[in-house]
């Protein structure tokens, strides 16, 4: 579950050992390669939901799709879809792409594909997404992966509206291969040294245009061809989808969390010590649900969690799971700063009873400052603080910019900052999901940083963010 598979690690080592620089390119197919599943299906599902599809169009689509599967022209289905988009606004479609990326597609990016992309980026290679999809499907994914180049099917736009036609051929099969070769000529890429990753049976021509092809989670016919052609095959793990079982366990876990809070508080009341009661509630409310949901942790440098208390713990934020995970790590004597709006989030409401967060009203800077002054006092008196400096959950493991608030508090209270890197909480519980999947959370506690002051704060924050990035890119052994 955690870490990269041996095969992927070896592939990355081979990339590192191979030639470096921009004359080497790495081409990644989108559907089934970078992301699990088909982005087009996500788009079409959205059209169906929006009742944008007439029964006749639906029937035509189904018939064309089946015919494509049975040896007919498999690209006709796409042309049916393109012509159905005639007259639609390009801007609206691009917005839809962004929306579907955040809600659905971001969660389907394969972690190990991302690791391969990053390995090529570290090697200074020219990285491109090569796909028969349109840029509205690809661009958000490419941006998230930091990939600049797209080799893809282009749709004709006139006066901001689609005409239903494509500009040039659909980049499928041989046309994707020739698109890649044309890209190589334009960008001075040496194809014999370059890499390509694809999964479809139609990707053989695309893959064969480079010196280092890899069949990645290949379709059965590509797997057979790869065996015959002696091409390496990589099987990557897919992002965990919410299974019914996982959903059931999540419900049990939520119940466990409430029970834990209740038990802890009851214990505190019985002992007449609310402080200890809270700490007991935290222990129970984090241990119980995670155990019930089948989530365990693998923590590197756990001792750093205890050497500098009180402290401000900063972590990257991808998932609602981050809070119970950090709660279990910090165990006792801590609180959080949260935006006021989150106060009524059903997932936070129970926890907030125990850890008594400092609620910040972002719309009112005066009251926010007053709240933070109170927080500084609480820190000085021994309560550690847990903050997500990105401010909001990211849709993918890519780090957002760090806000300064946490570090100002560290300077004011004169306490150290303890950075905590969380790797795969987003995979176990997706950004907008209520379902928690079983697995192992990877945590790495970085070296605590002391003596914060306003003077060099920006540089230190930037340096710290880079450390987060590096740790996420190359997980320490």
């Amino acid at each position: 579950m955690s870490g990269l598979s041996t095969a992927v690690t070896e592939a990355i080592e081979a990339i590192e050992a191979g030639p470096q620089g921009p004359s080497v390119a790495a081409f990644f197919d989108l559907d089934g390669t970078l992301v699990a599943g088909y982005t087009a299906a996500t788009f079409y599902g959205d059209r169906l939901k929006g009742r944008d599809v007439s029964p006749a169009e639906f029937l035509r689509t189904v018939v064309t799709a089946v015919d494509g599967e049975l040896g007919g022209d498999p690209t006709r289905i796409a042309h049916v879809a393109f012509s159905a988009m005639r007259g639609e606004s390009e801007e609206a479609f691009a917005d839809l792409g962004e929306r579907l990326f955040r809600s659905k597609i971001a969660g389907t990016i394969r972690r190990e594909s991302r690791a391969l992309v990053m390995a090529h980026q570290r090697a200074g290679h020219t990285v491109a997404v090569a796909s028969a999809a349109t840029k509205y499907q690809i661009a958000p994914v490419a941006r998230d992966l930091g990939v600049e180049h797209l080799v893809c099917t282009r749709l004709v736009v006139e006066d901001g509206q689609f005409t239903g036609a494509t500009d040039g051929p659909m980049l499928w099969g041989r046309h994707k291969a020739s698109g890649v070769r044309a890209f190589a000529r334009e960008h001075g890429v040496d194809l014999a040294q370059s890499y390509a990753y694809g999964n479809g049976y139609e990707d053989v021509a695309f893959l064969s245009s480079v010196g280092h092809p890899t069949a990645l989670n290949p379709h059965r016919d590509l797997r057979a061809a790869a065996a015959r052609l002696g091409w390496p095959v990589l099987d990557l793990s897919d992002p965990v989808g919410g299974s019914l079982l996982a959903a059931g366990r999540t419900a049990v876990a939520l119940a466990g969390m409430n029970a834990g809070v209740g038990l802890g508080l009851a214990y505190g009341l019985a002992r007449g010590d609310l402080h200890e009661g809270r700490n007991a509630a935290i222990r129970l409310a984090t241990h119980l649900p995670m155990a019930l949901a089948g989530v365990s942790m693998n923590v590197l440098h756990q001792e750093r969690l205890w050497t500098h208390r009180p402290a401000i713990f900063v972590a990257n934020h991808q998932s609602a799971l981050d809070i119970p995970v950090l709660g279990r790590l910090l165990e006792r004597d801590f609180t959080i700063v949260a935006k006021k709006e989150a106060r009524w989030d059903p997932r936070a409401v129970v926890g907030s009873v125990v850890i008594d967060p400092a609620w910040i009203d972002r719309s009112d800077s005066h009251s926010a400052r007053a709240t933070l002054d109170g927080v500084v006092d609480r820190i000085r008196s021994g309560t550690s603080l847990m903050i997500f400096p990105e401010g909001t959950r990211s849709a993918t493991p890519v780090l957002g910019p760090f806000r300064k608030g946490a570090f100002h508090l560290a300077a004011q209270a004169g306490v150290p900052v303890v950075p905590v890197v969380l790797r795969n909480t987003g995979e176990l519980m997706r950004r907008s999901s209520l379902v928690l999947n079983p697995g192992v959370v990877d945590v790495c506690v970085l070296e605590p940083e002391t003596d914060w002051s306003v003077d060099d704060m920006s540089e230190r924050i930037a340096a710290l963010r880079t450390k987060f990035e590096q740790t996420l890119a190359r997980w320490p052994a």
Binding site: G72, A177, Y201, A205, S209, G230
Partner: protein, 465 residues
């Protein structure tokens, strides 16, 4: 000198063991029974340029020796009366070398090529050994040997192999050449006996076959979804292989298959190989790209723009880069709009490798045994179901260095394949440092034959640049 002779002897001994199977393979049987000469023909013709006319007596003696070394050259095909068994090879008791080998005089090489095409168009006497050789003399620069050989005896690859094996590494005569085992000729099988034996084998294996079929049906009934899914996938693959390539070029029609014209051209091998390397392909891919380049020029000259044409290629069923033993023919869409030879090789490479995803690539091999039990009309039409390409392209490895035939040096070896529905069949044979390209053109489909020859010559120059 002795080394060369040793090497020759080694090769000759190997030739003696060449193709000794007593029966035709299922695929050979299919081609044999489905043959409708010349439109659905299995005949290849080899034109060998010689630097001088060899001594006729020595040439006859050498050929006689060759037929004794390779017994197949003295054998004929015996068919069972009903197709219950595969045809068998049997020694021809009436074998007469003079029937198969003769010499003629021509004024020049062009005339020789016209004669060669006429020889190729004439059907074989199917009751005799399936080859015919003519030595052409009287040309101003040297001589030529034309050998016509039936596919059942040797496919083009086998023909070139056989010839490379039989030729000598030196100009001088080699006395005491090795001979094959003076095996007693197999008893002449009777067609009725053959049919009965085949039937008896079928009947004997019937319970076993029935049991195996029942077992297979039982297994299929237990997992219907799996069987249905895999059948559908196989069917889809067959459909793709039989239909999807490219529309045939209007410039290469109408085809009758009855007017063969032979063209030959030479290309230096090294530039061809380096273009192949740059495009990430093999020599086969470069040969296809070369043919497409020539046809692209021809279409441009005729003002008939075409972006792709169907091309018939040979795909190795073993590892793609090895010269394996199992091949399948398949159609690809040949790119006609790519000007750069390197880019064209890369495109062809992609097309050819893409065929490896087709699970039905071996469909004809798989169907051959079944088709062979049917009347030959069925087999003939089965072979016709696949759409004919505009051109077939084939690459064959020839002798790696200089070879001699009865004292005359071999200067070029060109294979002219049949035209089963195609407008052109192109075979590229590697001879030392030269690629010898033989083109059989359906003269009814190509309006400007001289123009086509020029276009090919220009493309060879483009590859060498």
């Amino acid at each position: 000198m002795n080394d060369v002779a040793d090497e020759d002897v080694e090769r000759w001994v190997a030739a003696a063991g060449w193709s000794a199977a007593p029966e035709l393979t299922p695929m050979q049987t299919l081609l044999w029974r489905a043959e409708r000469h010349p439109v659905q023909s299995s005949t290849s013709t080899v034109v060998i340029d010689l630097d001088r006319a060899p001594d006729w007596d020595r040439f006859v003696a050498a050929t006689d020796w060759g037929t004794r070394l390779v017994r197949r050259l003295r054998q004929r095909v015996v068919e069972p009366v009903v197709p219950t068994a595969a045809p068998t090879w049997a020694d021809d008791p009436t074998f007469d070398l003079a029937y198969h080998l003769r010499r003629e005089r021509v004024a020049d090489r062009e005339e020789m090529l016209v004669h060669a095409a006429q020889i190729a168009l004439r059907p074989f006497d199917r009751t005799r050994p399936l080859w015919e050789g003519v030595l052409y003399e009287g040309m101003p620069d040297g001589a030529a040997y034309v050998l016509k050989i039936h596919h059942a005896l040797a496919d083009p690859l086998g023909t070139v192999q056989l010839l490379s094996m039989l030729q000598s590494g030196r100009r001088a005569h080699t006395p005491r050449k090795p001979l094959g085992d003076e095996a007693v000729a197999p008893v002449e099988p009777h067609p009725v006996d053959l049919a009965v034996t085949g039937l008896r084998t079928d009947v004997a294996s019937l319970p076993e076959t029935a049991l195996a079929t029942a077992r297979r049906l039982g297994r299929a009934a237990a997992r219907p979804q799996v069987v249905v899914a895999s059948t559908l996938r196989y069917g889809a693959s067959v459909r793709r292989l039989l239909t999807q390539a490219a529309p045939p070029s209007p410039e290469l029609s109408p085809r009758t298959g009855r007017m063969w014209t032979f063209l030959t051209l030479d290309a230096p091998l090294e530039p061809l190989r380096s273009v192949a390397r740059l495009g990430g392909g093999t020599l086969d891919d470069a040969a296809v790209a070369l043919v497409l380049g020539g046809l692209r020029r021809y279409h441009a000259r005729r003002d008939s723009p075409v972006t792709e044409i169907p091309v018939g290629v040979r795909v190795s069923l073993d590892r793609a880069d090895d010269l394996g033993n199992r091949f399948a023919g398949a159609l690809i869409s040949g790119p006609m709009s790519i000007e750069d030879p390197v880019d064209r090789v890369a495109a062809v490479r992609g097309e050819v490798l893409s065929l490896h995803t087709e699970r039905a690539l071996e469909v004809l091999d798989a169907a051959a045994p079944l088709l062979n039990r049917m009347p030959s009309v069925v087999a003939a039409s089965a072979l016709r179901t696949a759409e004919a390409p505009d051109a077939f392209v084939l690459t064959l490895p020839g002798p790696p260095r200089r070879r001699y035939m009865a004292g005359a040096e071999v200067q070029g070896m060109y294979v002219l394949g049949p035209l089963p529905g195609a407008a052109l069949t192109v075979c590229l044979v590697t001879c030392g440092d030269t690629a010898c390209v033989g083109v059989n053109v359906d003269a009814s489909a190509v309006a400007d034959l001289a123009g086509l020859a020029e276009c090919f010559a220009e493309e060879v120059a483009a590859f060498s640049a």
